[in-house]
């Protein structure tokens, strides 16, 4: 078996969850295309045996497929060379069961990643594990998070220049967020950059040149918080990391500040709810931009940053596209951190506009949460215009395909009491469908014209990732279990398949050893949106599942728990 020595994917493979460093989730394979997708059919399935939200992307390298389950984070290797893809090995990291108590939004895992013959993934209880892709043998494991502080790990690592980049989760537990680089050979910690606290902890040095005035100053990670609050201020790094080899910069977002109740943390709460550009070698920050200074509604900044080149006023520029929780799509110059444009892609009434001069959003005064007051009609809701579910970019259509939700909420904030290892939220929310009544959508966004090219509305929030292919297709799954292929140019649904459980995973595509192009996705409802089913919540309480009970009370009628890999190919 031949494992390639790169951390991105070759044309036929899908080696890392986002497929490439730019996070495009675009495959050049075009065997399956708009013309023939109608005859797509199941080639094999595989049951993981676990029944929580399956959010991970299947990874395909060297004729093998690797899939990881939610807690207890079992890693399977399947042999694509044999009929029916039999299991080659399984690796059970056996994380602490107690970690389930500090996972805010289902016990998910967003993926395993491949580099140089090794597989890297995080366990819910805060360990990073390296496994030999050939044998399934453990190479090393390091304990990075402490569940007694509320830390867990759910994100998919990214390997850049022989460094495994991993971050923690726990923005709802008063965790102090960080991104850590580990030596891919040994697991030794090379650097750690915190998202709050003094500059030396955040790895802010002389090279730090943020574009906007409000991000300049000494130790803002301390002074923009009430005394000590930065120590439990969130800013966790549970989303996606992109890498630009030319500029030698990594980009990643930081989560919401804790607690949700904004009255408890006056100030801008640096460096939460924003995006960092860092040098992967030293970890030093180059620039930072805060989408949501003094975040009001749990609008994490962790969503993917898709690195593309688009014309801005006629000249091509290297930018990153970031569809934020706050419902705005940001086009940011990825060398300088300048916001080129910011336009809402869903109905937003919490932010009136983004001032490109100061970089700051203008918050609607009527929506600002206050203790003792119920604020109604907050759009988008705490899950944002879009949550973790990654979008896909097609260089052919020059459109960004954004899977997202369309939900609003009523909210009352209350003083949150910090007790390490327990939730630190201080808000009661009740969610409901946004304007139009549909709860989800797949939106094709034209970043040049800052407009919606087309949109497919869905009854349920679209909580799965998107996949774009050179066959002019976009794939995505729905919370009630439909897996769909649509025409990338006009959004016409060309093919659909009903899976055994709701889909919250990331679809991928690859050319198998049989020479055929395959599409793969895991079905298994869960995640924050599917917790109503995965966690057996009682929806008579609208606040159950942090407000999701009221958003999708009917979901149990449409789907039930599952955990199955589906692989499709042409007949």
């Amino acid at each position: 078996m031949a494992f390639s020595a790169h951390a991105q994917s070759s044309a036929d493979e899908w080696a890392i969850p986002a497929r490439d460093f730019a996070n495009t989730r675009f495959s050049p394979l075009a065997d399956i295309n708009a013309g023939n997708v109608g005859s797509l059919t199941v080639s094999f399935t595989f049951s993981t045996g676990y029944l929580r939200g399956h959010e991970a992307a299947p990874i395909v390298v060297g004729g093998r497929m690797f899939i990881i389950t939610p807690y207890p984070n079992v890693l399977f290797a399947l042999d694509l060379r044999s009929a029916g893809a039999p299991m080659l090995w399984r690796f059970e990291p056996k994380p602490s069961a107690s970690a389930q108590g500090v996972a805010c939004c289902d016990v998910v895992n967003r993926g395993v990643t491949y580099a140089d013959g090794r597989l890297f993934f995080n366990t819910l209880d805060g360990q990073t594990v390296a496994v030999d892709a050939e044998s399934g043998r453990e190479l090393w494991r390091v304990k990075l998070g402490n569940i007694n502080l509320g830390e867990s790990m759910t994100m998919a690592p990214l390997v850049v220049k022989n460094k495994v980049l991993v971050g923690n989760s726990g923005g709802e537990f008063g965790v102090r967020g960080w991104l850590t680089a580990l030596d891919a050979q040994t697991g030794r910690q090379l650097w750690r950059a915190y998202s709050t606290g003094p500059d030396k902890d955040v790895l802010i040095g002389p090279d730090f040149k943020p574009f906007y005035e409000s991000d300049r100053g000494r130790d803002l990670g301390v002074s923009s918080w009430p005394p000590g609050a930065w120590q439990r201020g969130g800013g966790t790094v549970w989303g996606w990391i992109s890498y630009d080899p030319e500029l030698n910069l990594i980009y990643y977002g930081t989560s919401n500040p804790g607690p949700w109740n904004p009255e408890q943390r006056p100030g801008d709460n640096k460096w939460t709810a924003g995006v960092f550009a860092r040098d992967p070698d030293s970890g030093e920050a180059r620039w930072f931009y805060q989408f949501n200074p003094h975040d009001l509604f749990d609008y994490d900044g962790v969503n993917e940053n898709v690195l593309v080149e688009i014309p801005v006023n006629g000249t091509p520029r290297k930018v990153l596209l970031h569809p934020d929780r706050n419902g705005y799509l940001y086009v940011i110059d990825r060398a300088s951190g300048e916001v080129i444009s910011a336009k809402p892609f869903v109905h937003v009434n919490t932010i009136e506009s983004v001032d490109l001069k100061s970089g700051r959003p203008n918050y609607s005064q009527s929506r600002i949460p206050q203790v003792g007051k119920v604020v109604r009609d907050i759009c988008p809701h705490a899950g944002g215009g879009k949550d973790w579910q990654p979008s896909a970019w097609s260089p052919q259509t020059k459109l960004l395909y954004i899977p997202h939700q369309n939900l609003c909420q009523d909210e009352e904030v209350t003083p949150a009491n910090y007790i390490a290892g327990t939730p630190y939220i201080g808000a009661t929310v009740k969610m409901y469908p946004g304007p139009g009544g549909h709860r989800g959508a797949l939106t094709a966004w034209d970043p040049v014209g800052s407009r919606v090219a087309w949109e497919i509305t869905e009854n349920f929030p679209v909580w799965s990732g998107a996949l774009a292919t050179a066959g002019n297709l976009v794939f995505y799954g729905t919370l009630d279990g439909w897996f769909k292929a649509v025409d990338a140019r006009n959004g016409k649904t060309l093919w659909q398949f009903k899976a055994g459980s709701g889909i919250v995973g990331q679809p991928v595509t690859y050319r198998g050893p049989d020479g055929k192009q395959h599409i793969a996705v895991m079905a298994g409802v869960g995640g924050w949106a599917g917790g109503v089913v995965a966690g057996d919540l009682d929806t008579r309480d609208a606040s159950a599942g942090d407000g999701w009970a009221a958003a999708v009370p009917d979901l149990p009628k449409f789907t039930s728990k599952g955990g199955t890999l589906y692989v499709f190919s042409l007949k």
Partner: protein, 205 residues
């Protein structure tokens, strides 16, 4: 309190003269007072009657299984003094929020942790079982609050938790909420018959 009757003097005198009627009346009054006491009494210190006695509620005596080899012993129903006391339930509600129980169990509907307002009880529904669950913790994420929450407060939380599925007496349960209404009023919800069951999936939590 009962309203004072404005009967004519003669009849009142007659009532006083009739030992039978006086007896009945005083029994009724005493019973009314007693039930009011149960509902209203505020016990501030741990010493005293309102906490179930340690021996009868010892967590060591709880079982987590319906299955017992040989002849099954009757399941212990547990003592319920706190569940007729409005003060205990409302203190329990306050502590449920203070100690972030609501962060995982929401207002009974569940989130990170299982729902508490339904009829499913993985580790038992009796007060002693719930007490043990809070103090010992449970393997799939429930923290152990041993040594963190004083005994009396744990019992108050137990009373509130049981009230979520209607196990407490209706007149002792809070009839309205102080904050945004997210579910029907406690007293308007039906009592759920507790079942010792695990969630349908069997593997969580």
């Amino acid at each position: 309190m009962c309203s004072r009757s404005s009967e004519p003097r003669e009849r009142a005198t007659a009532a006083l003269l009739s030992p039978y009627r006086a007896g009945v009346a005083s029994v009724v009054v005493v019973m009314l007072l007693l039930c009011a006491c149960e509902r209203e009494e505020r016990q501030f210190s741990a010493q005293g009657g309102s906490s179930p006695s340690a021996a009868s509620m010892a967590p060591a005596s709880i079982t987590l299984s319906d299955l017992q080899p040989g002849v099954s012993t009757q399941a212990r129903r547990g003592e319920r003094e706190l569940e007729v006391n409005a003060f205990s339930i409302s203190e329990g509600q306050r502590l449920y929020e203070w100690f972030n129980c609501n962060g995982c169990h929401a207002n009974g509907g569940g989130a990170i942790g299982p729902a508490l307002m339904d009829d499913v009880w993985i580790y038992g529904s009796a007060p002693a079982n719930i007490y043990a669950t809070i103090v010992q913790g449970r393997p799939n994420g429930m923290p152990s609050f041993r040594g963190r929450i004083p005994e009396q407060q744990v019992w108050q939380i137990v009373a509130y938790v049981r009230s979520l599925s209607g196990q407490a007496r209706k007149d002792a349960m809070p009839s309205r909420t102080d904050s945004m209404q997210v579910k029907p009023r406690q007293v308007a919800l039906p009592r759920e018959e507790p079942k010792s069951s695990a969630p349908p999936s069997g593997n969580q939590p």
